[in-house]
Amino acid sequence: MKLKEMVELVQQHHPELGVTEIVKMLNIAQAEYSSRTRMLEKATQFDLATDQRYYALDDSILEIKSVDMESADSSSDHVNIPKLIGRPHRRDLT
């Protein structure tokens, strides 16, 4: 369904609402639907940097499922690395 069809369906019930307002409502609905169903899955890549501990996460990421790391043997293989239970006892902000 295209945005135009969605807006027209909402306007059948609420002809007094403007397009901007309806688009905002559709965005609220989409955000709630995707966060509650966990329907959309994606993968992204970035490079490790020397001495860097933390890498910022995009706002669109709801939950990380798993993390792979490029293999040490310079092949194209990627290996899964485990999630730490809890947080480091000794922390830094690098």
Partner: protein, 139 residues
């Protein structure tokens, strides 16, 4: 070899292991040594190694009419069979502003909740087939 295990990255015995965790809207990645509980960040020879994150994402917003990216033909990232539920939620939000029509708001909210259940089942199956439920029967 107490305290050692196969390093999941180097494929060799090691006392340290690469791990990840989340904190302050960021992902932490470091080598962890359980014997002294120390975490070490990537060294120079590990610089530029690719990390792949697999994640659940929030649906991207539709651009608003004031934006240059606005398009009437834009479509939601969600599968098309669930678009009707997105519309239902928007309709419900509209009726919430009309105190005399709250019943209609509830009706469309319930429709949206039905869509959430269907969406969760769809996401759980991951398009790999149907889930078979075995119903217990009391003889």
């Amino acid at each position: 070899m107490a305290g050692t295990y196969v390093d999941n990255w180097k494929g060799a015995h090691s006392t340290t292991q690469w791990v990840w965790w989340t904190e302050r809207d960021a992902i932490g990645i470091a080598k962890y040594n359980p014997s002294n509980e120390k975490f070490v960040s990537a060294s120079a020879d590990e610089n530029d190694k690719k990390i792949t994150l697999f994640y659940y994402k929030k649906a991207s917003d539709f651009a608003e009419p004031s934006s240059n990216d606005f398009s009437w033909t834009a479509t939601s990232e969600l599968s098309s069979q669930f678009h009707d539920y997105i519309v239902s939620k928007a309709i419900a939000l509209g009726y919430e502003r009309k105190p005399d029509q709250l019943q209609l708001a509830m009706y469309f909210h319930e429709k949206f909740e039905k869509g959430i259940k269907e969406g969760r089942a769809y996401a759980y199956r991951a398009r790999a087939g149907t889930v078979k439920y075995i119903k217990s029967v009391d003889f």
